[in-house]
């Protein structure tokens, strides 16, 4: 169960670089506990802080206009690299609820949907426009629109991902509704391919 995502209005912090990998989003050294919390301080740690953990004023999140940003604008292949879900947990805990990028890594996008963070795909040019716009933008997930002032952009998202985000649904609960069907399939498969089962 994640926090349902319906509508969101926020300024959007531009970090428009390609291949922002999960090591950048949260370095492995910041994953200090075996749990899923306490990660916000490690978000973008390598860029957010100088040595001695003082704020780097040049980093986008440390600039006054973007301190409360709940939307991140990024480049191609956001969240590539390690499958660590801590990247999503850290973003969500920090307060980022949507990442708008031309593409994100398949593993990151899957993790994001399950963690209540919207991986929103828009073309490079649109993202550049949103960065130039600068003011608060609004995302309506049910309507699949991003509104910046008077301009409205549509976006696509897989139906299942959209339903999961809007409902804050737990995928395990959903799948367990099909438990009977899964068990029947497995029984058939076990006779057909017994070596699969140990």
């Amino acid at each position: 169960m994640s926090t349902p995502f319906t509508q969101l209005t926020s300024v959007a912090a531009p970090l428009i670089e390609d291949n922002i990998d999960t090591d950048i989003i949260i370095p492995s050294r910041e994953m200090k506990s075996t749990g899923k919390t306490g990660l916000a301080a490690g978000l973008f740690a390598g860029r957010r802080y100088h040595q001695g953990r003082t704020e780097n004023p040049d980093f986008i999140f440390n600039q006054p206009a973007y301190r409360e940003a709940a939307i991140l604008l990024a480049g191609d292949n956001f969240g590539c690299g390690s499958s660590r879900e801590h990247a999503v947990w850290a973003l969500a805990e920090y307060g980022i609820r949507a990442v708008i990028a031309p593409s994100s890594s398949p593993i990151f996008a899957g993790n994001a949907v399950r963690g209540g963070v919207l991986p929103l795909v828009l073309p490079h040019a649109t993202i550049a426009d949103l960065a130039t716009f600068g003011g608060p933008i609004s995302i309506d997930l049910a309507a699949r629109t991003v509104t910046a002032g008077v301009v409205i952009y549509g976006f696509d998202i897989a139906a299942e991902a959209r339903a999961m985000l809007i409902g804050g649904l737990d995928a395990i609960d959903l799948t367990q509704k099909s438990a009977g069907r899964i068990a029947a399939w497995q029984a058939g498969n076990q006779s057909a391919r017994p070596w699969v089962y140990l």
């Binding site: 897989a158 299942e160 069907r181």
Partner: protein
Amino acid sequence: MPSLFDKLWDRHAIADTPGGATIIAIDRIFLHERTGAAALNSLAAAGRTVADPARVFAVMDHIVDTLPGRSDVTTMPGGTAFITETRAACRAAGITLFDIDDPDQGIVHVVAPELGIVLPGLTLVAPDSHTCTQGAVGALAWGIGSTEAEHALATGTLRIDRPRTMRVTFDGVLAPGVTPKDMALALIAAHGAAGGQGHAIEFAGPAVTALAMEGRMTLCNMATEFAAFSGFIAPDAVTFDWLKGRRYAPKGALWDAALADWQDLESDADAVFDREISIDATGIAPMLSWGTSPAQSMTITGRVPAFSGTGSRAAHDKALAYMGLVEGQPLVGLPIDAAFIGSCTNSRLSDLERAAAVIAGRTVAPGVRAIVVPGSSAVKRAAEAKGLDRLFTAAGFEWRESGCSMCFFAGGESFGAGQRVISSTNRNFESRQGPGTRTHIASPETVAASAIAGWISAV
């Protein structure tokens, strides 16, 4: 008409969901101590159990030290909790764990094929992006996050959207000294780190089928660096011979039945893919990364490229600044501080043998720290039986216990800021091997040759 991917998918598709995803049966799950405790503890806290513990395995590889005499105490601050909590959670869930002292301990993607836990036609998932490595045996294997791992553990399934398909065909014959690592880097350099975006990628063609099993694993390993959903290779006699007799592989009549079933695991001649890429393998030369993405790679004897118009000029300049390089600079001859041979990409016996052959009685250059980390305890024993440990240590390399080791920095051992490392690993990301560390990824041969020279060197 169906492709190999279609066949793998159809064998596991249980039901379509109202949202257009598919419930896919998961045959094997592999956990490790970095995230194993998080998934298992979260599952238990929700009052859920592991559906079929006999098909779930775990190993200590990410956090555990690779220094001699290792224990639950780690150089990574706080690492002990990851080890002990994963151990306890595996025990409580009834999951087979290859623990620190287990003879089968090693990197998950080395161990699973080695033990025959992954087989042709299976689905296998693990909370590790390089799970695609295991597609080399003709399985559908992919990396997932912790929440997805919980879903797979609890239900024996995952809900996924059907990925688009791609075939990458390597035509021709590799030149001597050119390796699967070079094939992968050449592909990613040509088509970008997002080039395989979300696709299920079949690697095919004569240069792929000519590869031995371990080389196929190296190639599939790098599929995630290409942003693929997964990478895989149709199983053939090479695959079947390699797997036969391995501990968890079927035996006797069951093997015969499996073998008969696996004959169909190839793309039909008229199979259609959403995308196709062809590469002339004959033209591939040994590769080396110059920047901070695997896409920023070049032939080792080339010069650091000028900005090409793909991506952004700023990103190009940033990578150059981070790596301490300028456009047009040759990399051969650039002094290095360290050389690392290991990781799920290039740490198998054949990798170590080829590196050892390059060393051929010579010694590591003064001032260069050189490390070899076998991919599994079994690889380590096999290498020691061949005397490779003595060869490496006589040359001045550290000979380690198996694990992920310094492929990534988790707060423990590091190469240090500004240190230039040539590494047989898979990621040259900023600070991947330590804050400020400058990583060049290459084949084990190139790493060995450079360690001996003291600067970046072709074999």
